[in-house]
């Protein structure tokens, strides 16, 4: 009878399933083992390589859990919330940090420093970078060390500016005037005779639009919140800043309301746009003949100003130790090692901007990375995104309305009023 035969079969099946289940949770941490959650990208690659070197030097075994940018946030949030102790070290993009810190997911680093007889990190770190790892911002306890020191730079075509006898742009008005001039006079001057646009920006909803807007918003004297924490994006300054962005958009390639980093960089690399805000990670591709049609022609400088001096948005990668880490002491040893001067130089040579002044000022490094002086200036003047655990949601809502204004769906005034109302609702919920 077939039913008789099914007995042993089903028992085997059940046993297999149960065993598989247990196999998943069987690993217990030993003192010689660390697990790292890293971003799959140039930042995470550098830390991965460092981990391999550390393994070879110390014999500590390091497991790497690598995730794409968006998944990394989800993974870390879910695992740290469930207090699984799955990771001994986590890489965090700095806008995520307030969420992790207010939820008390991270270890205060002070006791670890005290065990070593130190009061805290050395003063070679750029102050703006180190401030990101404190909760509350700048003044509170230290929960994370900065590993990659990105801040926005202004990219512009040196050769085109020279051709028109223009100096490197110092104000947004100069940027707009130049964009207009190039759009009119350099209609066919892209490599291969195509059209060169005066400016190119990212205005896809979410992070992209907000990141490309913030330097203009701040330069025009606008603020996201007043001192009481109420949203003020629809102030006169805020609306003017958005109007200016739309004006600049007229000299941007069509469809820029859905552009992300890839499209912007493609336009710059192909020589079909003359100016943009961009991140240092793209600098090296401009001297790569396989990608760039504008080798040696791209200039990098600090943000232009308007009413206020120009300030870039900071975007650093931090490393922190979860509160439930299994091997917190060993994790701290690795953290200090990986952010030491020597190791950060190795990371910088792998393409990541450092967070230590001595490396930015190292003549050997400046010879390799000629934009380092501008990068340090930009970083030291940079501003963080508002430090609130609700930032992801606020940035999403703000970005939707910025994108709507740029795609022509809403006027600047309507977009800012509606954004302000949504942000107020989000803050209300977060209370």
């Amino acid at each position: 009878m077939p039913t008789r035969k099914a007995y042993p079969l089903s028992i085997v099946l059940i046993l297999t399933l149960t065993l598989l289940n247990f196999a998943g949770c069987g690993q217990k941490g030993s003192s010689k083992q660390l697990t790292l959650a890293v971003n799959s990208g140039v930042e995470g690659d550098a830390l991965k390589q460092a981990a391999r070197d550390y393994e070879a030097q110390t014999g500590v075994h390091i497991n790497i859990a690598e995730f794409p940018y968006a998944n990394l946030f989800e993974k870390e949030l879910v695992d740290l919330n469930a207090r699984t102790g799955a990771y001994d070290l986590v890489m965090l993009d700095d806008p995520w940090f307030p969420r992790f810190a207010t939820s008390e997911f991270l270890s205060d680093l002070k006791p670890f420093y005290e065990k070593r007889g130190q009061s805290g990190p050395d003063d070679d770190f750029v102050a703006n970078s180190l401030a990101l790892g404190h909760h509350p911002y700048q003044t509170g306890a230290l929960y994370a060390l900065p590993y990659v020191g990105n801040s926005q730079l202004f990219f512009y075509r040196k050769d085109v500016f020279q051709k028109h006898n223009l100096k490197e742009p110092a104000t947004w008005d100069e940027v707009l005037a130049a964009a207009k001039l190039f759009n009119e006079q350099d209609a066919q001057s892209a490599p291969g005779g195509g059209k060169m646009y005066g400016y190119v920006m990212r205005a896809a909803q979410g992070n992209a639009a907000v990141a490309d807007f913030m330097p203009i918003f701040w330069a025009f004297g606008a603020e996201m919140f007043d001192p009481q924490g109420k949203p003020t994006v629809n102030s006169a300054e805020g609306i003017n800043a958005l109007r200016f962005m739309l004006e600049l958009g007229k000299y941007s390639p069509p469809g820029y309301a859905s552009f992300n980093a890839d499209e912007v960089s493609a336009h710059l690399l192909q020589g079909t746009a003359a100016m943009s805000i961009n991140w240092p990670a793209w600098i090296s591709s401009f001297s790569d003949p396989a990608k760039s049609k504008v080798i040696g022609q791209m200039g990098f400088t600090v943000m232009p100003g308007a009413k206020n001096p120009g300030r870039a948005e900071i975007g650093n990668w931090l490393i922190a130790i979860p509160r439930d880490a299994r091997n917190a002491d060993a994790a701290f040893d690795f953290l200090v090692w990986a952010t030491s001067r020597e190791q950060m130089k190795a990371s910088a040579l792998r393409g990541n901007p450092p967070t230590r002044k001595s490396i930015f000022n190292d003549p050997e490094m400046v010879a390799k990375f000629p934009a380092y002086p501008q990068q340090l200036r930009s970083l030291e003047n940079s501003r963080p995104r508002p430090r609130t655990p609700m930032w992801n949601e606020i940035e999403n809502a703000f970005g939707i309305f910025l994108s709507k204004a740029n795609s022509g769906e809403l006027s600047a005034e309507d977009a800012m009023n509606q954004a302000n109302a949504e942000i107020a609702k989000i803050l209300e919920r977060g209370k």
């Binding site: 469809g255 809502a397 939707i400 309305f401 994108s403």
Partner: protein, 290 residues
Amino acid sequence: MTINFFRHERALPYLLLAPTVAVLLALSIYPLIYSIRVSFQTGAHAGWSPGNFSRLFADRFFLAALGHTLVYAVCALTFEFLLGLSLALLLNEALRGRNIFRALLLAPMMLPPVVVGVVWRLMLNPNFGAINGTLKGAGLDTTALTWTASPRLALASVICVDIWQWTPFMFLVLLAGLQAIPQEPYEAALIDGSSRWQTFRHITLPLLKPAILIALLLRTMDLLRVFDQVFILTEGGPGFATETISLYIYRTAFRFFDFGYAAAMSFVLLVLTNIISLLYIRLLQRQEAR
């Protein structure tokens, strides 16, 4: 002895079912009940609260996403059905090269939606994309055709991609339905001198109805929860123009970390899908009862 054997025989089905039931309970029923609990929690408050559900109706993003989902589902379903039916009727005839056409038509459906999203995103790129390139080559002015970047064209573009990918599914199910129809009614109709339209209207369509309803049911359920292609193509943009409910739920849960509200929205989607599915199934049963 006999009684023992009898008991054994009665217990056996339950024993055999037990693993399945246990797995179902653990993997599907328990999470479902848990998510009901979660949907009644707001913020840090641990008690029961209807806050997430009342928030739904004041949330312009949710209502807009619901609207987009419905427009998306209705438009895509209509075109996929009409195109799928025409293709099935065409390729049911004895055409030359019929098998090659049939195989080729199924290709889009075989591709993972993520791949389809990436390919179309490249093709629809207003500056470097193949579509505008071709149109420009034909002498058309393409400056206004920014496809996924234009608030007016974005939703239509995304729907077109869905139609491209899923019409083959309609075609496949309907073709199978057509092939299952016996020849006799057609022969009888031929003898009675019925026109082609009359044959289609009174023989093909009624006999094809079960296949049509099943195809529509499966596609509707898929369309209401559409996620992957839209996520890759536009991520809901520009602005909010192509945000569907699934995207908004994902964002709320994994970006904003608000699982309660995400669970509440998921339930609305679940109820909506169930109501529509029940309507189809009711129609199907009535058809079979005849």
